[in-house]
Amino acid sequence: MSNRLNVLKTCKLYIGGKFSRSESEHFFQVPDKKQKPLANLCRASRKDLRNAIQVARKAQAGWAGRSAYNRGQILYRMAEMMEGRRDQFIAELERAVSSKRRAENEVDLAIDRLVHYAGWTDKYSALFSTVNPVASPHFNFSIPEPTGVAGIVAPDEQPLAALISLIAPVIAGGNVCVVLASEKYGSVACTLAEVIHSSDVPGGVVNVLTGFRADLVPHLAGHMDVNAVLFAADDPEQKKVIQENAHLNVKRVHFYEGTDWMKDDAQSPYYIIDFQEFKTTWHPVGT
């Protein structure tokens, strides 16, 4: 069978639980670490982005309405699926960017990090909710609620660990997201989308786009139906664009540039709280 032709995977976008090519029909080639062609990735257009945001919005209420425990089960299921594909992820990372040992470390850390956030889904609310002392006969309490639709711009470094570290806390807290994968290592994101697809995550909760940041970041930041933007790449110009455009509907904006996602302290419930809004309720009580 040595003269057999390999069947190569077409990397596609992941929008609303479906794998689709870019509406623009554009694609771009990315090299591996030896500068040989690694994959052809879809170059998502602003219309693909718009479609992804639309389906994300539709999925948001359903996802936030699930019990926290169920969201945890689904995140854990993602970890199970990743474990099954451990060798594939290691091989892909090794070919694209890393040494074998570092790739193994990164995949293991990504899986463990999913389990970490799976555990937090039904606990962070209890931890961050407060009962507030007030000077009137009211029972006053504050609880976190998901921000809504988040746009996530992933960095190029540590592509898998970063993706998981960015996506997991956002969806653990009942948000939905549109992820713009690394320009250089988007193929890893495509494989991650397959994991998400096969792990009970409802369609539209995580949408993964590959493409050029410069094409998409201004529209992501300006879109009136996006509630938060998380920018983890290192690019001062795009950062400025986000800050300028995000004011239109007062988005939450978080910049995580320069974070070493392989470190132990790159996971914590505070990453979940970054995408929560606190609702305070005044409930009258008799004196």
């Binding site: 300006g222 879109h223 239109l248 509907n249």
Partner: protein, 305 residues
């Protein structure tokens, strides 16, 4: 409008053949059209002017209708350049309220009548309902035909009822709802369109919005052909109103392209073409603002209703 007395009315027992595959492929072709930039903005505004803002629910309170009327007059107050919609469409018992609010605004008041949506009332009560709605201030009446009679082959019954309601309308325009979702075949749609047109309809309308499928592009195309043939024969222009299921601006633009290429630019006016819709108006508004600002919009910032 047209003088039916001097016109040869076709034999409705004969069927005008409709090429199902041809119609569906032709209609699908319009879905590939893309209108850009200034033309798009123009088309979006035109489509908004053609909307019959509709609420036909058992839960239509006076407050809801009042809100809808305000939406009809001022769809998006932040931008004075946004046009008004064509009409609002309500049940007869809300007509008086709507007419009071919309007086002098140029927005028409349409009322469904004739035992909408089933049409299963007695002929007397249906005529009464038309007269009541007109007396209350409706200047457009949306009637439903008796589908049971049509499907039974009693074409004269349907013809006569349309003619009767037309007479009961007086000065008000009559839109005839065929409820194409219940007519089964394109031939039937064509036949019902011909009956309605020859019996005196000012507009023919696809659906009540209560039955699925509602308006589809192939069905609308068949009805447009009926309008075109009638125009070529008599020189009279009949209006068209697809209703139900048209929710997004893109689909609305496809409809406009279809009307333009089937009937010509003369029909691209609210006097001869309407969309019966409730959620379409907001999507049109969002696309108009997107076109003007370059930013994709969110329904969070547009009034409901």
């Amino acid at each position: 409008m047209q003088n039916t007395k001097n016109m040869r009315i076709p034999d409705f027992k004969l069927t005008v053949p409709v090429d199902q595959i041809g119609v569906e492929e032709r209609a699908a072709r319009f879905r590939t059209r893309s209108i850009k930039k200034e033309s798009k903005l123009f088309a979006l505004k035109l489509a908004l002017q053609m909307v019959d803002l509709t609420t036909l629910e058992g839960m239509d309170s006076p407050g809801k209708v009042r809100q809808l009327c305000n939406k009809a007059m001022y769809p998006y107050e932040a931008d004075p350049d946004i046009p008004k919609v064509a009409a609002i469409c309500v049940y007869p018992n809300r007509v008086r309220l709507a007419a009071e609010i919309l007086k002098g605004s140029g927005v028409h008041v349409a009322s469904v009548a004739t035992s909408f949506p089933s049409g299963m009332g007695t002929l007397e009560s249906r005529i009464e309902e038309v007269k009541y709605a007109v007396d209350e201030g409706a200047d457009e009446i949306d009637m439903v035909i008796s589908r049971w009679a049509f499907l039974k082959g009693e074409y004269n019954y349907v013809f006569d009822e349309v003619a009767t309601f037309k007479e009961a309308c007086g000065p008000a325009h009559l839109k005839v709802i065929l409820e194409t979702g219940e007519l089964e075949t394109y031939e039937n749609v064509r036949k019902a369109s011909d009956i309605a047109i020859y019996a005196g309809a000012d507009f023919i309308k696809t659906s009540t919005g209560k039955i699925s499928p509602a308006a589809t592009m192939p069905v609308t195309l068949v009805m447009l052909y009926a309008i075109r043939d009638y125009y070529l024969k008599t020189g009279s222009k009949i209006g068209m109103k697809p209703a139900g299921g048209i929710r997004d601006a893109k689909t609305a633009l496809h409809y406009l392209a279809m009307v333009k290429e089937t009937l010509g630019a003369d029909w691209l006016t609210p006097d001869l073409f309407r969309f019966g819709a409730s959620s379409l108006a907001n999507d049109l508004l969002m696309q108009i603002i997107k076109q003007k600002t370059g930013q994709y919009q969110s329904p969070d910032y547009f009034s409901i209703g």
